[in-house]
């Protein structure tokens, strides 16, 4: 019998951006989909997100960024996640992400990129299909 625990997602708010409407909506959608969600709250640094993800043995590391500093943040976060042994987990990001940045985010290892107004069902389906 498969006793696997539910997919565990650490959903982080990177940097100083205080717009958490979207992050909280997505958190609820992920919980409704049966995932376990650990929402970090605001003002997280790359270090704090890597630590929370490692301490919780996250299957998925998800970020919500609305204020434009996503590339800088992800560049710093990538090596920290790798050093925390989370290089093989699913990394995704959503928020105000200009189309011109999507390829860069994917190249940094953020396999799922969900710009504002992405459908909640698409995020859930992506996680189910791609979680390691």
């Amino acid at each position: 019998m498969n006793q696997k625990r539910p997919i565990r997602i650490v959903l982080g708010k990177p940097g100083l951006d205080g717009h958490d409407h979207g992050a909280k909506v997505v958190a609820r959608a992920l919980m409704d989909a049966g995932f376990e969600v650990i929402y970090t709250g605001l003002r997280q640094t790359p270090t704090s997100i890597a630590k929370i993800a490692r301490d919780n043995d996250a299957d998925v590391v998800a970020l919500s960024s609305m204020a434009g500093s996503h590339l800088e943040f992800c560049r710093k976060l990538k090596p920290m996640l790798e050093q925390s042994g989370l290089g093989n987990r699913l990394w995704i990001i959503g928020g105000n992400l200009p189309r011109t940045d999507h390829a860069n985010l994917r190249a940094l290892g953020f396999k799922g990129v969900f710009p504002s107004s992405s459908r909640l069902a698409d995020i859930v389906a992506f996680i189910e299909a791609n979680v390691p």
Binding site: G15, D17, G18, G41, T45, A67
Partner: protein
Amino acid sequence: MSDSSKPKPVVNESGIEVQAVYGPADVERTGGYSLIGQPGEYPFTRGIHPLMYRKQPWTMRQYTGFGNAADTNRRFRYLIDNGQTGLNVAFDLPTQCGLDSDDSAAEGEVGRVGMAVDTLHDFEVAFAGIDLDKITVSLTINGAAPQLIAMYLAMAEGRGYDIKKLRGTAQNDILKEFIGRGTWIYPVKPSIRLVGDTIEYCAHHAPKYSPVSVCGYHIRESGADPAQEMAYAFCIARAYADEVIRRGLSIDEFAGRLSFNFNIFGNIFEQVAKFRAGRGLWASIMRDEYHATKPGSMWMRMIAGGGGSGLTLEQPEVNIVRGAYYALISALSGAQTMALCCYDEAYTIPSEYAQRISLRTMQLLVEEMGLTETVDPLAGSWYVETLTNQMRDRIGAIIAETDANGGIVQQIASGEIQARISAQAYRMVRAKESGEFRKIGVNCYRQEGEQYAEVELHPYREADAQAQLTNLNAVRARRDAPRVSRTLAALKTAAVRGENVMPAMLDAVKAYATVGEITRELAQAFGRYQEPVRF
């Protein structure tokens, strides 16, 4: 078995059922005309001034700021040259969170979503060449509001303005930052105390300055319905009033300088009724609960602007039309000040082009559409008057419920309000996804696989952030270091002793102490906020 012939009731966002047809009996049934009155007279439902826009159109005040102070000053001048009549300053996130531009947490964020401010020097540059008597300035700052209010007063004084006559506004509504927007710094209680310090200080020293603009706006953006938006804003305004009264001031010494910031999107009539109802209700709260006697203390003065949540990423040019309706609503609602989110704002800091379209939208109402010619033109509509009565009851009921459940401060501190509103936001997103709540370009009138045009993105220039760091270092090098240390120590002492921090704050900013240095001193006295995460 459901009766399929029975039509589904039409219910507005605030939960009020809308009838197909209204008549005089509906107004009578919901409370009559007794709370409507005349413009400029209690309860001010029809407007706070007898002549409203006949005397003076609303102030046009687009939210603006990016890069460093010099960049922002150029955009200010562009808007003023295009007929804008006030300024509304956007600050970058490090400034809003009380950090200096060279703080490690500020890396990559300096000047990104607003103007970077470290010291008084930045204010001197930002407002250079702008006549502060003609152009009033609104500072969209909350956590770091005491510093920035002090900088504004110091800058104006340095330029020879009489602080006793200086007008202007600071947002300075920290309680709503805990609900939405998130630029809190200190725990809830000392945060309220700081708001009290600014109100008390201004009441004595800068009596024309509006130290607080209580925001329903961001509460609505976070998922509140229109009635909750207004009810929670009033609860928050009462919390600040209580804090100041506790210090021995009478309500009439400061209530006249309290102002509000509200949101506009959604049903036109519900919005207009919300504002008319709100004015009447606020006047009665001030008169009957707080025993205000001056009419000015009872005025719900407001900026009412087109809200970002109404706009869409999809088909962005349609946002120009939405903005025009929002401006119309604001004018029909008797706003003192108007601002519109720009059509490209879901993507980026607005371009000059987009800002000019928003400005022209508001100017059209004044110059071509006759919106300034008569006061409260929707008055007497059976629908609008009925809805105004019903909205007043609805807002009042939410206030009573909030009071009965421990009050707004406690419910914010526990995260209860945040959880309720985010649950509503989730239901709304679901309703948009299912198509139950119609949104053009999002769930209807949209072609499958439609690739909407991306707008021109505002460039983030590393060089502007670098220039800010150079400026900061130069100011640090030339300021009187012992004076900085002395004034910061005095500030901390005032904070620890529970004295009003504003006199010491003024001394510190005049010594060119930085936003971050001041925040660190206050945080040593007050601690830092820990966000409750609740679902």
